[in-house]
């Protein structure tokens, strides 16, 4: 017989909050309407912890910890908005903008982009580092969807939703460091992929304009991410 889940109390930004011991700092912060930015995290998908935007200061650790991947504990002291954290957030966002060619004004996701929204919310009014301007070509081989790697931030939501929810594992990641990119099958053109079921889940979870429906123009992409928690919940009940 498993022991019942305990409830713990902790402090986030000097606010006393209670949580189940199996929850993450991010979940508890969101339940209490404490803002922590995220990009790779998406409810309904496994934890990845790669974007580092949710870094928080935690008592007893001199390292910053990813709130999405750190469990709460009794008497934990968490800080989400110290000058150090705010500076790191801003720098991370600026590096994301500098790494690829994010031109918001002519992006299909303009107005519905999580990177663009977080830039505004986290005080990114310009990019202090030099832009890299990589030459990246679009994959327009699929009849329904397109991949624009210029807008990709490598959050791997598409990889995870394809593997964990659709069960197709069409998407994966290749290359290391600055050469890293998301690919379909073994870097076959998307339209020639044998494994893709054309379900479109990857397009809906994409935080930016990297994945979009064919035929959409500037600011015409609309993501429907609400399907994901619903789907996982319904499947859980069925099991």
């Amino acid at each position: 017989m498993t022991s019942p889940t305990r409830v713990v109390t902790l402090r986030i930004d000097d606010r006393e909050v209670s949580a189940r011991e199996d929850e993450t700092i991010l979940q508890v912060a969101r339940d209490n309407e404490i803002f922590i930015p995220t990009l790779c995290c998406l409810e309904g998908l496994s934890t990845w912890g790669a974007c580092r935007l949710c870094l928080v200061e935690v008592s007893g650790s001199n390292k910053l910890l990813a709130a999405c991947a750190t469990r709460v504990a009794q008497d934990l002291e968490v800080k989400t908005n110290t000058p150090r954290i705010l500076a790191y957030r801003r720098t991370i966002l600026e590096l994301l903008f500098s790494e690829r060619n994010h031109v918001c004004s002519v992006c299909v996701a303009n107005g519905e982009c999580e990177l663009q929204n977080l830039a505004q919310r986290c005080g990114v009014d310009h990019i202090r580092v030099s832009y890299r301007y990589p030459e990246l070509s679009l994959d327009l081989s699929n009849d329904l969807f397109r991949l624009d790697p210029n807008r990709c931030i490598l959050c791997t939501r598409c990889v995870r939703v394809c593997d964990e929810i659709e069960g197709a594992h069409t998407w994966d990641v290749m290359g290391r460091g600055i050469d890293c990119q998301v690919i379909t099958d073994l870097k076959a053109p998307w339209g020639e992929s044998k494994s893709c079921t054309s379900c479109g889940k990857c397009v809906h979870v994409c935080p930016t304009g990297a994945l979009s429906q064919r035929g959409t123009a500037i600011a015409e992409v609309h993501h429907h991410r609400d399907f994901l928690p619903y789907l996982t919940q319904m499947r859980g009940e069925r099991d």
């Binding site: 004004s105 992006c107 663009q116 009014d125 990019i127 301007y133």
Partner: protein, 186 residues
Amino acid sequence: MTSATTAGLTQRPRLATVWLDGCSGCHMSLLDLDARLFELVSLCDVVYGPLVDTKRVPEEIDLTLVEGAVSSDHDWHLVIELRARSKLLVAFGDCAVTGNVPSMRNVVPLSAIYQRVFPAAAAIGGDCPTVGVPRLLDRVLPVHQVVSVDLFLPGCPPAAEAIYQVLLDVLAQRAPEPLKLTRFGA
């Protein structure tokens, strides 16, 4: 918000605007202030830019709005001159702030662009034209990579309301908060 944006302006502030590599949409948005333009010119003098006749950059400017990215040697020299003569310099709109659409040429070498745009000249081994037209820089740059910028006003273009609020704040020597009013791509 830098302390520079609240630096002392003269009694009757002198406003300059300039149109570098951009579509003039930010200036159009400025004109969209409509009746509020009267209020603006009651608070400052417009001394240089596409909206006035003056061809020479005045010696003393309080506030310069720079629309557009720095794409040519002409842009480069002009923005340096404006910076030297301005108390405050604002990167006005996404092209000035990020490089935006003009910077999309940065992913390909300039030589490839010349060959595409001037194929006839390229076919006979001719160089790109430089007489009477400015020489393009190898890379389009956001303004802050050329001169120091006191305030960033993103948007493509920034809405008239955002321009109005920010100008009122700057002219009243209050700290403006542009990101409460606009964002990249707005």
